[in-house]
């Protein structure tokens, strides 16, 4: 197809909540498709711009300056120009709409509304407010509050099956009067998911009419003793992805520019990950950490799962990560002393000025500590959704609503490949920092390859794959996925100061033997020069991935960081003593070369 159409150049943008990233792919004289350059600019969804296409043009203009190829004329991308300017295709993905903040409506706070809240939280949303008949507010108070908070979505619950309909109708009237407007009032109506007494649905539909986008799901509280969170949770997730996330001021204009429909960023990203898992026949885990959301994808034993943690991100939602994780959990990753005040002031300033970047090593390392927790929280959310919401009807209890019953669908030990993406991982100053962040966040077990999306272009390739799959795959392997490390992580009884495994590195020059001790990271850099194989012989109570005490041999692959052996144990537990923790963080960083800081300084 590419040959027939003689595509010479492709421009693809991803409009994130904070930054708009653009790439240029060109055809070389040899007929190969390669990445020619990238540019970026702040996303322009805020006043005074209120138009996402301004950020697009700014980013493409920067790309034009960097590559020297003329791409913009009269404020528009040049399409169908000659072989030396413009592009043949312009594609885009978008997550400019940012996170998901919901309102919940119910009849009784402690019953249906509580179940609805659990469904929304389980789907990764934040509940800004909950409105019930017994919330002690006047109708006017409710109307004003709904107008003020501008929810992205409303989950409407209330009434057990066969129970009240009257109060649901009245709450529907309140909602009608509030007339909730989306944050971006362009193309879509605020989705209202009806998860209440099904007998009330026709009445509620009569009231709300065409004012909102009403979606029916199973009653979250069919009886007083039961709750059914799954259907509502799945609907929230789907509607967020399809309607809320991608929308932004200027979206309609952007739609008129692109050669194929705009895809939501996680959909495009997921398309690439699913393709990798399917083609390579391996288990893949991938995470894309953005400004407002963190998206996690897995392809395990042929089953693909995608989750969007709608309020864990590194700019607009950085404070939510700090709040949810707890500042102790952030501070534990730092190789220096810090304080709650320093952490919070930095996070708050990042939130209010989301496009700024760390200029000092100290701020970079604080941001990277927050990245670890955002990834951990999002990965936990992914595992919960991938396995936990399968059971449909649950007895009511908070513990049960969130606890994952039965065998987990995803285990850290099952992963053959973990891919990191998003600004914080793709643009970390050193690939070694990315490798260490991924080890700390995902805690892989046994042998796992770690890759990084070189410059954050997986979403761009995802949308490209919908029209030119061969070109997308070519660029994916040549320029996008960068092998950064092979990790070999041990677990089991790791006894302090005793050898937990022996390692033999086999190179053409001969063998070198190493004794491995617990609580450390080891990096073997020979892969940077030549391929080698290695043999790991774990202690009989230590598991290197094939079972306790099982020895095996593997060929290493070429990667930016090399072979990293993690003997810190699973789960990874950091010392309680702050000084000891700082010393450990420094020694691990030094071992892997993540940053330069003396262990005892």
């Amino acid at each position: 197809m590419a040959e027939e159409r003689k595509i010479n150049a492709i421009i693809a943008t991803d409009c994130g909540s904070t930054t708009t990233k653009v790439i240029l792919i060109t055809r070389t004289p040899e007929g190969e498709y390669r990445l020619a350059g990238r540019g970026e600019a702040p996303t322009t969804v805020e006043a005074p711009f209120d138009d996402v296409t301004i950020g697009v043009i700014n980013a493409v203009t920067e790309l034009q300056e960097i590559t020297g190829r003329k791409l913009v004329e009269n404020g528009k991308i040049i399409l169908g120009g000659d072989s030396n300017e413009g592009a043949d295709l312009y594609l885009s993905t978008s997550s400019a709409g940012g996170g998901l903040q919901m309102a919940v409506i119910g009849v009784v706070a402690s019953l249906s509304a509580e179940s609805a809240q659990r469904a929304a939280l389980g789907a990764g949303a934040i509940i800004i407010d909950s409105f019930t008949y017994d919330d002690g507010r006047t109708e006017q108070d409710r109307v004003e509050r709904i107008r003020h908070i501008r929810p992205d979505m409303v989950l409407f619950s209330g009434g057990t099956e066969g129970g009240t309909t009257k109060h649901l109708v009245e709450m529907a009237e309140t909602l009608l009067m509030a007339d909730p407007k989306p944050r971006f009032g362009e193309l879509f109506k605020v989705p209202v998911i009806f998860a209440g007494n099904s007998e009330a649905l026709p009445l509620v539909t009569d009231v709300l009419g065409k004012k909102v986008d009403l979606i029916k799901v199973n009653n979250v509280r069919p009886t007083m003793e039961e709750e059914d969170l799954n259907d509502a949770g799945q609907a929230i997730h789907r509607l967020f992805l399809e309607h809320v996330m991608a929308q932004a001021p200027g979206y309609e204009k952007l739609m008129s520019w692109v050669s194929v429909p705009i895809m939501p960023t996680p959909s495009a990203f997921g398309q690439c990950i699913a393709a990798v898992g399917e083609k390579e026949k391996i288990n893949v885990l991938a995470a894309d950490i953005g400004g407002a959301t963190t998206d996690v994808f897995s392809s395990v034993n042929g089953r693909f799962t995608r989750t969007v943690s709608a309020n864990y991100g590194m700019s607009y939602n950085i404070c939510n990560v700090v709040k949810e994780a707890g500042f102790e959990n952030i501070l534990r990753w730092l190789p220096f002393e810090s304080s709650v005040n320093e952490l919070w002031d930095m996070a708050l300033n990042k939130m209010i000025r989301p496009t700024t970047i760390p200029q000092t090593a100290r701020e970079l390392l604080i941001e990277q500590a927050i990245v670890r927790e955002a990834l951990r929280l999002s990965f936990a959310h992914h595992m919960r959704l991938a396995g936990g919401l399968k059971g449909i009807v649950r007895q009511r209890s908070v513990a049960e609503a969130f606890e994952q019953k039965g065998a987990a669908v995803i285990n850290a030990g099952d992963m053959d490949l973990i891919i990191g993406s998003g600004g914080a991982l793709s643009h970390a100053p050193r690939r070694r920092q990315t490798a260490l962040i991924m080890l700390d966040s995902f805690e892989p077990e046994g042998i796992t390859e770690l890759d990084v999306d070189s410059i954050f272009m997986l979403p761009h390739l995802g949308v490209l794959s919908s029209v030119e799959p061969d070109i997308a795959l070519e660029v994916l392997h040549r320029d996008c996925l960068i092998p950064i490390a092979t990790s070999l992580s041990l677990k089991g009884q790791l006894k302090e100061k005793e050898v937990c495994a022996e390692l033999t590195i086999n190179t053409p020059e001969g063998e070198t033997n190493y004794k491995l001790y617990p609580g450390r990271l080891y990096r073997f850099t020979e892969t940077a020069e030549k391929l080698f194989s290695f043999t790991i012989r774990p202690d009989r109570e230590v598991d290197a991935g094939e079972g306790p005490g099982v020895e095996y041999e593997r060929k290493a692959r070429f990667s930016a960081v090399g072979l990293v052996i993690d003997t810190r144990g699973r789960p990874l537990v950091l010392p309680d003593d702050p000084k000891e923790r700082i010393r450990k963080n420094r020694s691990w960083a030094k071992a892997i070369g993540a940053f330069d800081m003396e262990e005892d300084s």
Binding site: A47, R150, T164, M177, A292, D345, T356, P358, A361, E363
Partner: protein, 372 residues
């Protein structure tokens, strides 16, 4: 040359402002197009039904839901007083008695044998909506009223608390607002400080019945102490603090932008309308101080300094918005085309600048805003 972007904060000496005032439910406008209104004048009102209180009668009376009604002494439509008996049961030969009383004054709207509740509707109340701005009514519809004026407008970057109004009083130009700055003269005013404010001063300001506080910066711990919780997603404006807080620069200890301070000084003693409502997410909402300067007119000369993408050039005045030079003013001296490595080792597009302090520095372009 490349662009730089501000967070879009409006700092305008004179600009046209229109505020849409949503009428209360079922309400009506009390003004007409062309009326001159003051900020505290009512522009719409409604007679509104009271809130509904649900009483878990079956649970209180220790009955199954469907047996509840037989034990009630009230009926749908009855008017009940606070603490009036609604129903009772007795067990064990009258040794144990359960009473269900009305927690509010109102009328019985519904008795639900399915859920075991009694719904009591409280008396109606009169709701009013004020003009918020002093200006001219420019539009009236069934649902809202527009009030317009020409005003000096200053947007902050973060705020707490809702709409209010008061006279502008500069209490500290270059330093933190401290206890010494706060006297009974501050009552009913919007007090302005050029740097920050601590919790003890906020408590004192509250005692002095200050209506608003405008400061350059505030530390997170003060926000935490005020709210009693950490901020996760910043959607504010309905906190009931007793005052409205507006932060113009950021968190920590920062100095107020001189343009903002100069404007506030120019208008000291004048009445401002202000609102701390903030929503930091895509579709941002910022806090604001609005000082009407003239009656509304279709003025063409009302100017706004609301930024558009401005081009960075040699000599452009900038403000640095990230550590280690956070808050400092500078002048651009070089604009290298290609990305350069900064202290974090990241290769990014930078500019070189001479700070007002005399120091020269290399700054990521992402970390500056143009202030010309």
């Amino acid at each position: 040359m490349g662009n730089a972007f501000t967070p879009g904060l409006l700092i305008a000496p004179r600009t046209a402002v229109t505020k849409t005032r949503k009428l209360p439910l079922g309400g009506h406008a009390t003004v007409s197009v062309g009326d001159i209104v003051t900020h505290d004048q009512t522009v719409g009102m409604a007679n509104h039904q009271g809130p509904l209180t649900l009483v878990r009668a079956a649970e209180i009376l220790e009955l199954d839901n469907d047996r509840m009604e037989k034990h009630l002494s009230c009926h749908v439509g009855d008017i009940v007083e606070k603490d009036q008996l609604l129903g009772e049961t007795s067990h064990f030969f009258d040794l144990v008695r359960n009473e269900c009383r009305s927690p509010v004054k109102g009328f019985i709207e519904e008795i639900s044998p399915t859920n075991g509740f009694i719904a009591i509707r409280e008396p109606a109340t009169i709701l009013e909506v004020s003009a918020y701005l002093s200006g001219t009514v420019t539009r009236v519809s069934k649902t809202d009223v527009d009030v317009s004026c020409t005003a000096c407008v200053i947007q902050g970057i973060f705020g707490l608390g809702g709409e209010s109004s008061g006279e502008i009083m500069i209490v500290s130009e270059d330093e933190d607002i401290t206890l010494e700055n706060l006297t009974e003269e501050c009552e009913g005013k919007i007090i302005v400080g050029g740097r920050s404010i601590e919790k003890d001063a906020i408590d004192m300001a509250k005692l002095c019945k200050v209506k608003g506080i405008v400061v350059a910066s505030i530390e997170h711990k003060v926000i935490h102490d005020i709210l009693g919780e950490y901020i996760g997603v910043a959607i504010t404006g309905q906190e009931n603090l007793g005052f409205t807080l507006i932060v113009t620069e950021g968190f920590g200890k920062l100095k107020m932008d001189s343009r903002t301070m100069e404007l506030l000084k120019q208008h000291k003693g004048e009445t401002a309308s202000f609102n701390g409502s903030t929503q930091i997410r895509a579709g941002v909402v910022r806090p604001e101080v609005i000082i009407p300067v003239l009656e509304y007119c279709e003025s063409k000369d009302a100017k706004s300094s609301l930024a558009v993408a401005k081009e960075l050039q040699i000599g452009t005045r900038i403000r640095i918005i990230r550590s280690p030079y956070f808050g400092e003013l500078a002048e651009v001296t070089e604009l290298p085309e290609q990305p350069e490595a900064i202290a974090t080792e990241a290769k990014v597009r930078v500019l070189k600048a001479k700070l007002d302090s005399g120091e020269t520095a290399t700054i990521p372009r992402a970390n500056v805003e143009i202030i010309d």
